[in-house]
Symmetry: C2
Subunit: 146 residues, 2 copies
Amino acid sequence: MSQGITIGNVSSASGVKVPTIRYYEQIGLLPSPPRTEGNRRSYDATDLERLTFIRHSRELGFEIDEIRTLLSLQDQPNVSCEEADQIASKHLVDVKQKIASLTALQHELERMVEGCSHGRVETCKVIDILADHGKCRFHADHPPHL
Amino acid sequence: MSQGITIGNVSSASGVKVPTIRYYEQIGLLPSPPRTEGNRRSYDATDLERLTFIRHSRELGFEIDEIRTLLSLQDQPNVSCEEADQIASKHLVDVKQKIASLTALQHELERMVEGCSHGRVETCKVIDILADHGKCRFHADHPPHL
DNA sequence: CGTACATCCTCTAGTGACTAGAGGAGCAAG
DNA sequence: CTTGCTCCTCTAGTCACTAGAGGATGTACG
């Protein structure tokens, strides 16, 4: 059926860049495909699906290790999906926290920019607020790796 | 006035970890402090302020290079604060985008988790949505390094 | 058939902002 | 005086890629 797809084609079809595909192979996220006579990687439709799955999961902010688990779950359709549910739920909690944190930050930045006198640094709210922690209403619980 | 503060004390006072302080010195974000006889770093109140400024800026999501600019602005109070204003404004735009993106993501995750049959993987929405891009309402314009 | 050019290969090293650990020296309290 | 904490330097690791060197292969056109 599926004759070989080149890495370039599987890349544009999946939206994952060529070096990233090779990287995924290197870390064992994507199986090593067979090679042609000329040593080029030769992918099939399953690989394309898998790559799309990965790209989509990455877009949704899942980490590589989480994707590894999700992929292995996908390969075993008879297993309970509790684990997948847990991963997604945990992720949802994280996302909600980040939104809350970023919303607070947004207000803080608005306060800074609106308060800016557009004059000299001496009277600038932006610098002022950053320098004096007490004047700030935003306090991150988790230092944001957002 | 200010006799030397140890790195440990300046760390707990500022909320920046000890190795991170040394790292900031290494990349030139924090000036190298004088040393004691025993070769320990000896900080003063100004360093503590600077570190607090840095930590606060990092919490607000500014990058090191942006902080470098903000710090140099702080050192020259007679300069126009336009640049600081621009940095904060640009950052505000980014933050708003991130919030929008994360909110879409949140809905997508909720859809996944709510739709989960709590049964076998075969019928699990979580896996399903990740696998089939067409069923997904969330499409990131900028792959989220959030 | 030749030649240009795109695409592919492997490999190493770099990014940002730290974090972890090894191996050793100084210092304060009991 | 010894125990244990803090400090020192240095190297290497983290995550998820990205960039570039240097070379092989495949394809389109004249």
